[in-house]
């Protein structure tokens, strides 16, 4: 059980050691970071196989009195396990890719230390059992990501990061206000305990206001419309592995996961909230796709596509039915993998061509055959073509919409899927197909470390499709969705630990 502390100690200790001794081990920094994330993935798998959930660990050994928790608690249940697995696995892949792609930077130890701190922050957000731990680790990840976005110190990256910081800082203030109000209402910061107290109170208007604050604050972090304004600037300007990590994992962990925890476990997912989630998700879905189609910058197109896929996840989770929750979580996993791979491909393309404008590229199919194949796999997965993983997750979402009695959203999601495919075909047409045009900085394929990470993700894109088999998803996704379905009673169960 004390392995859970590894999620905190390992990344932090390694980051600090990298800063201290990095001067001598700079060549191995990438391998060390990948090893740390790999270790954490192994710990996640080990915990998944061995332990009965939910588990609540009191930091500092403060035992609860009369069932009222004192102190900070780390809570692990099915949902936390799923997210931890996704984060650390994508962390491994991003670290491996960085070995090959960050070669023109000096002082790489700072980059890897920041990557580890981002991982630490995300692990902390997931394992947090009370609001303030959540806030502290949210800020750790946010600050690390601000610096990572601006890592190449170009004018555009600094400006994008500045916009991200101001919007993210305002969102953090809204979240802090929500936390303060919850403390005032319930007298406790522990999420499970707050749920218990809120059960006994009437649905006061203050609780609705708190819900709005959290939705706005975490909505900015999750880049759902209308709070998405920072994402189309920040994700293109970041270095390729950072974009992959941000788009694939960070927006989900810093935005969707706390919203799930708060709305399903503390406030209770009833009343007006399911409708709000569905509408926000639906709007993001369509608007993100339409805006993506209009872009000529590759990474900006992928960023808008991220907004729309997050909309899909909100739509599915907002339905609230068991199948809807499974579909939302399934899509979360497949999109993390697919979007990371898409950004990896974009990274190779941008590295070879030197700019991101699709009008100046063309004919890369002959120059980058390997990248073209992985691009097609990831594009078809995220757009939702069989037999890739994304097809199954989108199918689940559409079926869940129909099953929940809302066929309109099912058709809406299907139309959005076609628009996503159109956007990816646009990239295919302008970047890969056609005559070779535009200048090239280099004319070689991706280096080995990039290829390794891309192949791994491409294989995952295919293999994750098998999660659609009920026998498999009941092992992996259902523990997570069940935690959400139980809603507030899951919190009561945590209190009993």
């Amino acid at each position: 059980m004390s392995e859970i502390a590894l999620y905190f100690v390992m990344p932090l200790a390694t980051a600090l050691l990298l800063v201290l001794f990095g001067h001598w081990i700079e060549r191995w920094a990438g391998a060390i970071v990948s090893a740390v994330f790999l270790l954490l993935t192994a710990v996640t798998v080990h915990l998944w196989m061995g332990v009965d959930f939910p588990v609540s660990i009191a930091v500092g050994g403060w035992t609860p009195i009369d069932g009222v928790p004192l102190g900070i608690h780390w809570v692990m249940d099915g949902l936390a396990l799923l997210m931890l697995g996704v984060i650390n696995l994508i962390g491994v892949v991003v670290a491996v890719y960085s070995i090959g792609s960050m070669v023109k930077f000096t002082k790489l130890r700072k980059y890897y230390a920041l990557l580890l701190l981002l991982g630490l922050g995300m692990n902390g957000v997931i394992l947090a059992g009370d609001f303030f731990t959540l806030y502290v680790f949210l800020e750790i990840s946010a600050i690390s990501s601000y610096i990572l976005v601006a890592f190449d110190r170009g004018a555009e990256a600094m400006e994008a990061s500045l916009k991200y910081q101001v919007l993210g800082g305002t969102a953090s203030m809204l979240i802090l206000m929500g936390i303060a109000l919850i403390y005032r209402l319930t007298g406790t910061l522990n999420m499970a305990d707050a749920a218990r107290v809120l059960l006994g109170m009437k649905a006061a208007p203050t609780v609705q206001f708190v819900g709005v604050l959290f939705l706005a604050g975490f909505g900015v972090k999750a880049a759902i419309m209308p709070f998405h304004a920072w994402l189309p600037d920040a994700h293109p300007a970041a270095p390729a592995p950072v974009s992959a990590l941000l788009s694939g994992v960070v927006v989900k962990v810093l935005g969707i996961y706390p919203l799930c925890r708060i709305f399903f476990h503390v406030i209770g997912f009833q009343g007006v909230w399911p409708e709000v989630w569905i509408v926000l998700g639906g709007v993001s879905l369509m608007a993100g796709n339409i805006l993506a189609l209009a872009q000529w910058d590759i990474k900006r197109l992928l960023a808008y596509c991220s907004v729309s896929q997050i909309g899909y996840i909100f739509l599915a989770l907002g339905l609230g039915t068991p199948l809807g929750l499974v579909a939302g979580l399934f899509h979360l996993v497949t999109h993390a993998v697919g979007k990371a791979l898409l950004f990896f491909n974009a990274g190779v393309i941008v590295h070879v061509a030197g700019n991101r404008d699709m009008r100046a590229l063309g004919g890369m199919a002959t120059q980058l055959p390997f990248t073209r194949r992985t691009y097609l796999i990831s594009a078809f997965s995220v757009a939702g073509l069989p037999p890739f993983a994304g097809f199954w997750s989108k199918l689940f979402i559409i079926v869940a919409c129909v099953e929940a009695g809302r066929p309109f959203w099912g058709i809406w999601a299907a139309i959005g899927s076609m628009l996503t495919l159109a956007a990816f075909l646009k990239i295919q047409k302008h970047v890969f197909a056609g005559e070779v045009q535009g200048k090239r900085l280099y004319v070689h394929e991706a280096v080995f470390s990039r290829k390794v990470s891309m192949v791994f993700l491409a294989v995952l894109c295919v293999l994750l499709g098998f999660l659609a088999i009920p026998a498999l998803y009941q092992q992996i996704l259902s523990p997570a969705s069940e935690v959400l379905i139980q809603g507030v009673s899951a919190s009561l169960e945590i209190l009993r630990q």
């Binding site: 303030f132 806030y135 502290v136 800020e139 600050i143 601000y146 610096i147 601006a150 110190r153 004018a155 555009e156 600094m158 400006e159 990061s161 500045l162 910081q165 101001v166 800082g169 305002t170 953090s172 203030m173 802090l176 206000m177 303060a180 403390y183 005032r184 910061l189």
Partner: protein, 113 residues
Amino acid sequence: MILYLLTFLLFGIGLYGVWTKRHLIRVIMGLIIMETAMNLFLVLIGYRHAGVAPILTGSHNETATMVDPIPQALVLTAIVIGLATTALLLAFSVRIYAKYKTLDLDKIRNLRG
């Protein structure tokens, strides 16, 4: 009650600053004002009527009403987080000034295109 409303007013002032100001440093100051307002709000929540500082000193005022210590711990942490955020924003301002030679947000946005 009036104190709570005043902290919300302070938060509103900060939010207005972030939204409308054109000069980067004024936007950052708006963010700082928001953070200060939130810290004040947190401390206010902990106040108990006629409470003393929540420190056990082994002397005879153990039975006095103490203010709630949890918001004070939260505010300490929030102040440090605010410090880190502000420091990062200011470091970015210095770099952006070095690149764009201006801190006017309209010009910084337009240069990017």
